[in-house]
Amino acid sequence: MEENLIEEGESSREGEVAPALIVIHPRDKSAAVAVGPELRVYDIAGNCPISLSDDSGGPSHSESIRAIGFGANGSVFASAGDDKLVKIWMTDSWHCTKTVYAEKRVSAVAVSHNGQHVVFADKFGLVWAIALGEGDEGQAPIDNKAVPILGHYCSIITSLKFSPDGWFIASADRDFKIRITVFPKRPRKGAHEIQSFCLGHTDFVSCLAFARPIDYPQGFLLSGGGDSTVRLWDFISGRLLHTCDFGAQAGLVKSNGTEMEGGSAVIDVCASCDGSLIAVAIQSLHGIILLNCDFSARTLSIAKVVTMEESYVPTSLGLSDLPKHLWMVMGVSNIPTLGTTKLLSRVRVVSGFLKDPSDSSVRNAIIMGDSEVPGSEKLLEKLQGSLDVAEEEVTLAATAAAVKTSVHNLLIKKQYSLEKRELQKRSRNDKKLKQ
């Protein structure tokens, strides 16, 4: 029993570590990185760092940001995290126009396609909606409160995504469930109609991505999870179309000169609009995996493994609608072992995708040097916090370890052996009397 308590105490502290996140404006206008409570935005189009301003009257983020996201047209941006604040930003001026207080820590956020609603999910499995702008129902101005619209029963929701047509909202949880819900016209009354459940993952689901190839207007759903698979779904029926198992293909990964050690949970998946580019970040993989999706045959296959230097394990991937570049970031909110106060992150960019979009097997994906990335050093200075993080190998290695433990503690279910369970039962009060 005592041993147990100690374990739990440790995990609750290390669980506080939050991986750095990156998202790219759908039209490539800006890039946003969140590390700890810091939100860093760079204007790619105007080639200048953006300083954020807050008109909402609410406090700014004080604890780790856990979720960031742009709306489909890029006009709205939302950030939320452990401080239970959901902040909504207008991207034309990068002013925060609204700060909403959530009841629990926020684990996922998404902006509806028409930009009218921001939805967020908390660690108790509830998904909430916030109405933006004027009341479209001819009512008095909408209050600042979020309303619950749907729930995964007390399971941490790991990802929220709107379908390409905006009709559905997909929510994934750590109980291997993906729920596809019809997103109602008036979300404040709740989203009750479940279109399907996508069931097949055997461990937590960590990330979702939609792809809409030109010939398939309905689109497909991709999901990655703790069972080290990426799965392709027909989300309308909930049918599993194909599974790409990286655990089974570890040999292939190794042959490319990459060592797979420790967990191989999929931590992020992103897909370009038409699905021609699918990138996967895997825990403890020094690089990313590019997938090939044959949508007519409904199969996924590994197209290329892009290997990075030893200490680089991306924690988040970012892609715009025009995927010239694949962005990735590595970093954590704080590193308990080093005790540094600096919030380090390292941004890398992979390019070379559009050279031959018709023949996706010939991808000339290359990692760009720091001077070659859009916005070059100026952008990196803003998004990374400083330029010389590349040299701090030790810190980056610690980052990778910290991210691993945080994912482990947050999402992986504790397994108790039969004997341990029996031992716990024996200490139950109702049985003690008999002994």
Partner: protein, 260 residues
Amino acid sequence: MSKNNNSNMRQNGQSARLPRKRFYRARAHSNPLSDSHFPIPISPADVDYSQHYPHFFPSERSDDDNGSVPPTKVRFADIGCGFGGLLVGLSPLFPDILMIGMELRDKVTEYVKERILALRATNPGKYENISVVRTNSMKYIPNYFEKGQLSKMFFLFPDPHFKEKNHRRRVISLQLLDEYAYALEVGGIIYTITDVEELGDWMRSCLEDHPMFKAVPEEELEADPVVKLLSSATEEGQKVARNGGQTFRAVYRRIMLEDG
């Protein structure tokens, strides 16, 4: 402990005899929030119902004439079936319909399993359409049932969970009703009953507020043979009746969601 083991052995030796509840003493409650350590089917296709209803899933040797008939699907689900009184009561009323009980407490599930096997042994050809699984139905309904598969769902005498902070443990809630509406076909019926007035009000108001459920009119309820069983068939219901307690019933029909 040893006494228990002996009785279990005796039970196994003479499975034709009904199991006795006293040997299956279980705690009254189980935490629906805790991580489950029992096996859970990945998806409805993953559930082997032939083990539950061998009579309805003839083995390969004998299916020479009806190979094209799609397998029968479970239509009734008793959520939190307890000691299985309702299933046993319903079985002869709908002999061709497969019903399943879902119960979280493992000992209670074991009891119901034994009870059904004993009933099948003593009444050949009967009680072949009922079975039980140990699962947390608040988490895993979609792992067992496809969309619109069920025609009736039962929630009889669920745990009241009085404290407000424990309301999220109640088996009927606005959020969970989404999942029940998913599993029920349009026109399917959800039956709830309790002896706790506060919980009765809660369940009724949840169902009333949910846009995919509509109250079944009183005259229909009177004609429905199932309704009588709600309070009379289950062990919990009999206990309430014995003590002269009141029951609170809410029966609602799954309807199409009106656009809006």
